[in-house]
């Protein structure tokens, strides 16, 4: 029997497992109360280790956005498409795409309320995207 090794990422694996269940997971520092994203094993604010996992409601405000016209080769078929930075209500910022390649969305702008939704990313696993709230 061939021996198989699977690379384990204790930061990323629970996050992607959450996404597969339609949940946006982040971490929360018990010592200083910081919301931590991306998830990591040490609090980037105070240095406390092993912060707890938490589930976000997935709502927030667009902090920055760009529409990509000249896309990297793997994404060329989708261009133009929009990439967002979203300030999530629980107190962290994350990157996301506009859901369904922006279909049915007339316009999205900085300051707009958005909500998370999960759809398959380019590698086939579910990833968080956003729609106007």
């Amino acid at each position: 029997m061939a021996e198989e090794t699977q690379a384990i990422d204790p930061d990323g694996d629970p996050y992607w497992a959450g996404a597969a269940e339609g949940e946006l997971h982040y971490r929360k520092c018990a010592a200083c109360d910081a919301a931590i994203f991306y998830p990591r094993s040490i609090c980037p604010k105070c240095g406390a280790t092993d912060p707890a996992w938490a589930v976000s409601k997935g709502e927030g405000v667009v902090y920055a956005c760009t529409t990509v016209h000249r896309a990297p080769p793997a994404f060329a078929d989708n261009a133009p498409y929009t990439v967002l930075l979203v300030d999530i209500d629980e107190g962290f910022r994350m990157m996301g795409g506009l859901a369904n390649n922006g279909e049915g969305v007339a316009d999205i702008a900085i300051g707009d309320r958005v909500a998370v939704t999960f759809q398959d990313g380019p590698d086939g696993r579910p990833a968080p995207y956003f729609t106007p709230a």
């Binding site: 920055a64 760009t66 896309a71 990439v83 930075l85 900085i110």
Partner: protein
């Protein structure tokens, strides 16, 4: 009765902001070193070259410019993502076994970091003649190593969304500045136009034909709001800078260009981690550089600001305090930074029009030295005695700012 002498407690905010002292000596790099020689390799499209030959070309020319020999070199500072162990490979190729080696690699700003690190090493007596080196054949060999898309570690959370690196990150920052302050594409275009006008005066520049605001605005969106001509060139090229101790500097023919102040700062690796997209790490490093030099903005005669994108310059100028937050757009309008303007900026034509071989920061040093020596012919800024250069690396991730002067 208590006759103990009264011990006044001085709040920290009232402690004088002088440089910290160590054994009675100022812990400052002010005039700890001078730049004695600078040179580029061939630039633009150089198919008959490798990263090694380009660096050798610049190295030999910079030593000649300094009036020094290879055997004088006892320190080497390099950055580059080529090869397996670039610093070992280039030192071997040139036949140098340096006593002091630094390969701080934080993107295009690395060389401004190197200048500070060389000064510190020289001041500590670790070396006397240090060479900063860079070379890239990214254009001819289509090496995309610098911005290879990574999908692991921290990047896995951005990877699904197809943000082109680095332009998409700068576009996000521009979108935020536009929304907060009403900055416009026209204002960014004016910087590209002014920079091209300088390139027209520099025989070494890659793009020299005049440019108009409309041509920038009509050059096509790459990632909104940035157009193709808001983006730097993609060229080959190399550079070398010879940094020497004050006692060596005084023995040489050309006037030494002194390091008067340097500051550096790291902020983040990926754009979603940048705390405020309108404030770059230049805010921290600039403060440190000005404090070390002991000068104010009005003393700067000529400025070199890393121009990977037009927005990089706007954000850096604001963060350095040349104008207030939100005023950067107006600051760049109507040729203010071009030839004959009141704020001579990127007088070689910059990364936008002169050359940009992946990590541009070494060329900021080269041009500032030439301006201060009065070697810039048609594009010479009259009576320039003090220069500021500010390198930005990654996606507004790192910054080192240096103040250079003749005295």
């Amino acid at each position: 009765m208590d006759f103990r002498p009264h011990l006044a407690i001085i709040p920290l905010s009232r402690v004088p902001k002088s440089m910290p002292k160590h054994r009675g000596r100022d812990l400052s790099l002010k005039k700890a070193c001078a730049i004695a020689g600078v040179a580029e390799s061939r630039l633009g499209v150089v198919p008959d070259s490798t990263v090694l030959t380009l660096q050798a070309e610049a190295f030999a020319a910079a030593l000649t410019d300094a009036g020094l020999e290879k055997s004088d070199v006892d320190g080497v500072l390099v950055s580059g993502a080529w090869g397996r162990l670039p610093q070992l490979q280039i030192c071997e190729y040139l036949g140098i076994q340096p006593k002091y080696a630094d390969s701080t690699s934080v993107g295009g700003a690395s060389f401004e970091f190197h200048l500070g690190h060389a000064a510190a090493a020289i001041q500590a007596g670790l070396c006397k003649v240090a060479v900063i080196l860079y070379g890239s054949t990214q254009r001819s060999k289509q090496d995309k190593y610098i911005f290879q898309i990574r999908n692991d570690l921290g990047y896995q959370y951005e990877a699904p969304y197809g943000l082109p690196t680095p332009v998409g990150a700068y576009a996000l920052a521009a979108s935020r500045h536009f929304a907060e302050y009403g900055t416009t594409s026209e204002q960014l275009a004016d910087l590209a136009v002014s920079t091209r006008a300088w390139a027209g005066l520099n025989p070494r520049a890659y793009r020299r034909e005049p440019l108009t605001r409309d041509e920038v605005l009509e050059s096509g969106l790459i990632a909104s709001p940035l157009h193709r001509l808001d983006c730097c060139l993609f060229t080959d090229g190399g550079g070398a800078v010879v940094v020497v101790s004050p006692d060596v500097a005084r023995t040489l023919d050309k006037p030494p260009v002194w390091l008067l102040g340097q500051g550096e700062s790291l902020s983040h690796a990926q754009i979603s981690e940048m705390p405020d997209l309108t404030i770059t790490p230049a805010a921290e490093s600039g403060k440190r550089a000005f404090a070390m030099a002991g000068v104010t903005h009005d003393r700067i005669d000529v400025t070199g600001i890393y121009d990977s994108f037009t927005i990089t310059v706007l954000l850096t100028l604001e963060s350095l305090g040349f104008c207030k937050p939100g005023e950067g757009g107006a600051f760049l309008e109507n040729g203010r930074t071009g030839p004959g303007g009141e704020f001579p900026l990127n007088t070689n034509g910059g990364g936008l029009s002169y050359c940009h071989p992946g990590q541009y920061g070494i060329f900021l040093i080269i041009e500032a030295v030439r301006q201060l020596r009065g070697e810039c012919d048609e594009r010479q800024v009259a009576d320039a005695v003090m220069a500021l250069i500010s390198g930005t690396g990654g996606v507004l991730s790192s910054n080192s700012t240096c103040i250079l002067g003749l005295e």
